[in-house]
């Protein structure tokens, strides 16, 4: 599948109808989502024929991208039932199979080494301090092959240090820097839209 086609399909997905600010629910736009997963597969072979988990899947954009790039099995995890309902509809619309699990990923216990790759657009930690690190820690425990994650560029040094020192990372690379367009979603947003610099990271866990 070509990048433009993937981006087009993801652009048609339904997003949050009533986003919950305390969960930092922001849609992962088709531009970022398509590039993230396309790179994961084309540069690293981490998606096709692999078991892929999407942590904090929301409405399932990254999960859908993984499924469209022929992951062997995709599982989306999220705490919010409304988002999971939307994610289910999106999967049906695209005619792809995605399993969804309602849970708190930071408290999840997953057995075995079945999950190969974790992809995620985690909360940045603006509402619940440290949420971004909790998600990263959880992802590094689960993935046997790679973790792809988005974090604010301003946290780059902090993330690198934590991943290598505390979260069992063999490597931690910023693959590229992207601009995350956040439209005015919540009442407290003053500007019509804002542009945040985010890093797309690839982490490799050490073999357990």
């Amino acid at each position: 599948m070509k990048l433009k086609q993937l981006e087009g399909l993801l652009g048609d997905l339904q997003q949050f109808s009533n986003p919950k600010v305390e969960l930092e629910q922001y849609p992962t736009g088709p531009h970022i989502a398509s590039r993230m997963l396309f790179t994961a597969e084309n540069s690293y072979g981490d998606i096709t024929d692999k078991v892929v988990a999407d942590f904090g899947c929301g409405c399932g954009t990254l999960s859908a991208a993984a499924a469209l790039l022929d992951a062997a099995c995709v599982i989306g995890f999220d705490i919010d039932p409304q988002s999971l309902e939307t994610a289910t509809l999106n999967a049906e619309e695209l005619e792809v199979e995605i399993d969804f699990v309602q849970c708190d990923v930071t408290k999840l216990e997953l057995k075995g080494q079945v999950v190969g790759t974790v992809v995620m657009n985690p909360p940045f930690g603006t509402r619940k301090k440290g949420a971004d690190m909790e998600f990263l820690s959880a992802a590094m425990k689960v993935a046997s092959q790679a973790v792809y994650s988005l974090h604010k560029t301003s946290t780059r040094e902090h993330i690198k240090r934590a991943a290598l020192r505390d979260f069992n990372a063999k490597s931690a690379e910023v693959i590229c820097e992207l601009r995350y367009d956040l439209p005015k979603l919540y009442k407290f947003h003053k500007r019509k839209e804002v542009d945040i610099a985010v890093d797309l990271w690839r982490f490799e866990p050490r073999q357990n």
Binding site: V51, T88, E97, K107, L108
Partner: protein, 126 residues
Amino acid sequence: MRLMTHNMLSCNIKGVTNGFPLKIEAEKVIEKEVDFNPDFLRHMFAKIEWKDLVEAARSLGYAELPEDSPDATVIESAADESLLKKLHHALLELHLEEGALVCPETGRKFPVNKGIPNMLLHEDEA
């Protein structure tokens, strides 16, 4: 929820040491065909808990998997893919739509609705 997912879920209530595997109470099961990918299945075979998968598949009404974990040579064999096809069906084509996952240690039920298990813990369980 399919059994590939079930094969990795466990009960994470505080203090529970034997929360895996979760027993299945099935009320509604559907089957959906997906493409057969033998290389993927061969790769997965070593990573899944065979006996737990057999039991889980039985709970969903599928009893074709052999009780004992097959020899690696049978799985590797390119000639006979019949066992791989059964593994494929059990792992990826059976969907638990309604029912519950039950913690083997505490008996706590995690409901499954519209194919989605709810693993959220109550305050006193976390």
